[in-house]
Symmetry: C7
């Protein structure tokens, strides 16, 4: 058994992909998170249906996140 929060911890400083509720996908290095699954990502690349762009560092509010996949 691995707790979801423990899984986040194991991915610290590793590359993850976040799917958000609006279908936006953010890929970057997970450099922090809190108990609400708010997250800090570095070197982010964002993909929407029409767009691909680089965003540097971003803070994501956890309430918008659907799934997190380690890369």
């Amino acid at each position: 058994m691995i707790m979801p929060m423990k899984m986040l911890e194991e991915n610290l400083n590793k590359k993850v992909a976040l799917l958000l509720k609006d279908n936006r996908i953010l890929e970057g290095t997970l450099s922090g998170y809190d108990e609400y699954m708010n997250m800090v990502l570095d070197e982010v690349e964002e993909n929407t249906e029409n767009l691909n762009r680089k965003l540097g560092t971003v803070i994501i509010r956890g309430s918008n996140v659907v799934r997190i996949s380690p890369r």
Copy 2:
């Protein structure tokens, strides 16, 4: 009487299918969960209306889950 959380526990390390609010279906092995029904799934296969893909390990936020069915 079986509590929903107990039912999750009984499916640890077994294959489950999750239906999410956006109609996405994730099938994989349930390797963890917490009291908010956040879950960790391994060897995930994801199906949307148009797409089928393999995702490896994913963390799912419980607030997006509609139903969980043991396979």
Copy 3:
């Protein structure tokens, strides 16, 4: 006066139909629930506008439920 939770208790091991927010209807035997109205259903038959299928056992998150009707 009958409390909604008491009404659930009286339907344990009986057949119920759940209407979910996405208009999905699940019929099955209520084998468990908790204080958030998360439920465990057995021998589930699911009906959407286009589809009818058998699902076996499912866990439903209460936040998706609109109404519960004993059969």
Copy 4:
């Protein structure tokens, strides 16, 4: 001044109509409720835009309710 919960109490065992967020209207006898405005209705008749049907007893989750009107 009449508190909303007191108003519910006064309608116990009386006929009420519930408007739900999905525009569904349920009419029936209010046989119970709790502090979340979850309700138990008996002899329910349900009306949607396209459909009218009899449902017997139902449990309604309060979070789906828009307004309650005594009949």
Copy 5:
């Protein structure tokens, strides 16, 4: 400075118009409310885009309310 709850109190037994999230407008006499802004309205007239009707007394769940305007 006037607190929103104090403003509600000052409108007790007076005519108010409620705008709900689904664009429904309810006009009536405010005969009660609680700390969640659940309200009891008397002699209600309801207006939607297509419809005008009289509803008598209604209980409104506060979570559906956008704005309240004294008449």
Copy 6:
């Protein structure tokens, strides 16, 4: 550093514009608020895509507010 609540306090009795989730814009004098950002506005002018009207005093539920801009 200025806290959002402190910023509200500084705008008491001044003109503000509220953008609501349904794209409605309300302009008026901020005469009160509480810790949920419920607000009381006086001499309100409301603008939607199709409509402009005067509303006098209104109570706004904070959960519908997107942004507040001092005028």
Copy 7:
């Protein structure tokens, strides 16, 4: 490891871009925030799909925020 709230603190008095749930983008100087991620922004420029305008100072409710990117 950097906590999301710590990341906000580091961006105090710096330029940030907020993406809101309605796809609105607000760029400005972060002059304050609280534990709900409500924020105060100065010298704001707002961009929607069709519109670009200057807003001066604004208060943003955190529940509408998807991501925050330092500029």
